[in-house]
């Protein structure tokens, strides 16, 4: 049976990992490669690196870091943050990234999804969506959650699947940083409207929350950052806990 995946996320700034609460107040949480290795040894199934300071000048620094990660890590990893062109993707994949995640740029230029999927395959393209539940439904937000759009979460997910996205990474802004659990109702709906894997993100606070996002939210994978960074939950313990709750995991 296909295992549910546990994915620690490392927010990267100048080669080090940081984690914001509600996208603000960054705290330094250590060297990226060192932390990545620790996670891989603890049983992480995949890693996501989000470069939150990705600017044009920093691209080279990022590519160097990606190469270091690829040399030391024997599990798949995704790199995201500020990716806007096919060439950006090419550089990261050539450096050893397995997948890239696209966010704002895909909303602004949906054709970019198709361009990347055609050139490198859907398997390397994770579409990241930050969304917030509003009075008129779940709306997509851009630029790290600072810019609201009228785009509907579910419609956008479906459109991106048709264009060639290989996975959806859905972060609920209502849940992110709260530690009150994942957005399972929305996740379940999302998983029913697309036929590609859905990664749950935002709200992890306890091991039970992971059980719930797999059983109630029908997520294929769950992503979290701070609870792993600050060792509130160990990945190994979490996976044993999931197994005890009949969730298929890699142990």
């Amino acid at each position: 049976m296909l295992a549910k995946r546990i994915i620690p996320c490392l927010d990267i700034k100048d080669g080090r990992t940081v984690k914001g609460v509600n996208f603000e107040n960054l705290r330094d949480a250590g060297d990226a490669v060192e932390l990545a290795r620790r996670y891989a040894d603890e049983g992480a199934d995949e890693l996501v690196f989000l470069d939150i300071t990705a600017t044009h000048e920093k691209r080279k620094t990022l590519a160097t870091l990606v190469e270091r990660i690829a040399q030391h890590i024997n599990i798949p990893f995704t790199v995201g943050g500020g990716i806007g062109t096919v060439e950006d993707v090419n550089v990261l994949l050539q450096s050893g990234a397995d997948k890239v995640s696209l966010n704002s740029a895909a909303v602004k230029h949906p054709a970019l999804i198709a361009d990347i999927a055609d050139k490198f395959g859907s398997q390397c393209l994770v579409l990241a969506i930050d969304a917030k539940e509003t009075a008129t439904g779940w709306k997509v937000y851009l630029n790290g959650g600072r810019l609201a759009t009228e785009l509907d979460l579910f419609a956008w997910a479906q459109q991106s699947e048709q264009l060639g996205a290989g996975e959806i990474l859905f972060t609920s802004m209502n849940h992110d940083g709260t530690k009150n659990g994942f957005a399972n109702v929305a996740l379940r709906q999302l998983s029913s409207v697309v036929n590609i894997p859905v990664i749950a993100s935002g709200g992890a606070g306890s091991m039970q929350h992971f059980v719930e996002t797999f059983t109630e939210g029908h997520a294929d994978a769950a992503l979290a950052a701070s609870i792993f960074h600050f060792q509130e939950i160990s990945i190994r313990e979490l996976k044993h806990f999931l197994q005890q709750h009949q969730i298929p995991v890699r142990l």
Partner: protein, 188 residues
């Protein structure tokens, strides 16, 4: 040992190279016929589209060279699929080492098949977890050495004479993957 990774623009070449470096072997990336023929072992990597990959192999005349190799050859993911006779992906004839047609998964569950799964060997023993990412599969056949079940039973690994193929990514499959690569290095 001279280990050559066939360089034809496959997406995972770098990761495969790093994986062998972690095992203490420094592979050579090459599409040169002499280099490949003189290798002790050959890795045929692959991430991408079957038809596009076959076009590159033909352009570099590797489509004729690979089936003639006598040393152990390991095809990874698309590399394994390209060793079959035909692929539904782009409806392209492939290298024909294995007399099989590579098929697209029916969308009865999420496609691609993405993530970690155990396989079953010929003695019905369960293996460790390997990392898979693929939408097409090689059906179970006489040369299947590991079987996996997702939507249908398919070949997770095949072997015929000196040709080995794995559908999963050993270079990304943690310790289980490293053990498999180590075994390939030791294969004669």
């Amino acid at each position: 040992m001279k280990l050559v990774i066939i360089d034809y623009g496959a997406g995972n070449t770098q990761s495969v190279k790093f994986a062998f470096q972690r095992l203490g072997v420094n592979p050579v990336l090459s599409s040169n016929e002499e280099d490949i023929l003189s290798a002790d072992k050959v890795i045929f990597p692959g991430v991408g589209h079957a038809k596009a990959a076959m076009d590159v192999l033909k352009e570099k005349q590797l489509d004729r060279l690979i089936p003639q190799l006598k040393q152990p050859v390991l095809g990874i993911c698309l590399g394994m699929q390209l060793m079959c006779k035909f692929s539904e992906e782009g409806k392209t004839p492939c290298l024909g080492i294995f007399d099989e047609t590579v098929k697209l998964f029916e969308p009865k569950a999420k496609v691609p098949h993405m993530g970690w799964q155990q396989t079953t060997d010929s003695q019905q023993q369960t293996t460790g977890f390997y990392y898979f990412v693929h939408s097409y599969y090689v059906p179970v056949n006489n040369y299947t050495t590991l079987t996996c079940q997702y939507i249908t039973d398919f070949s997770a690994a095949v072997q015929k004479d000196n040709f080995y193929g794995v559908q999963f990514h050993p270079e990304k499959s943690g310790e289980a993957g490293e053990q498999l690569l180590q075994k390939f290095l030791e294969a004669r």
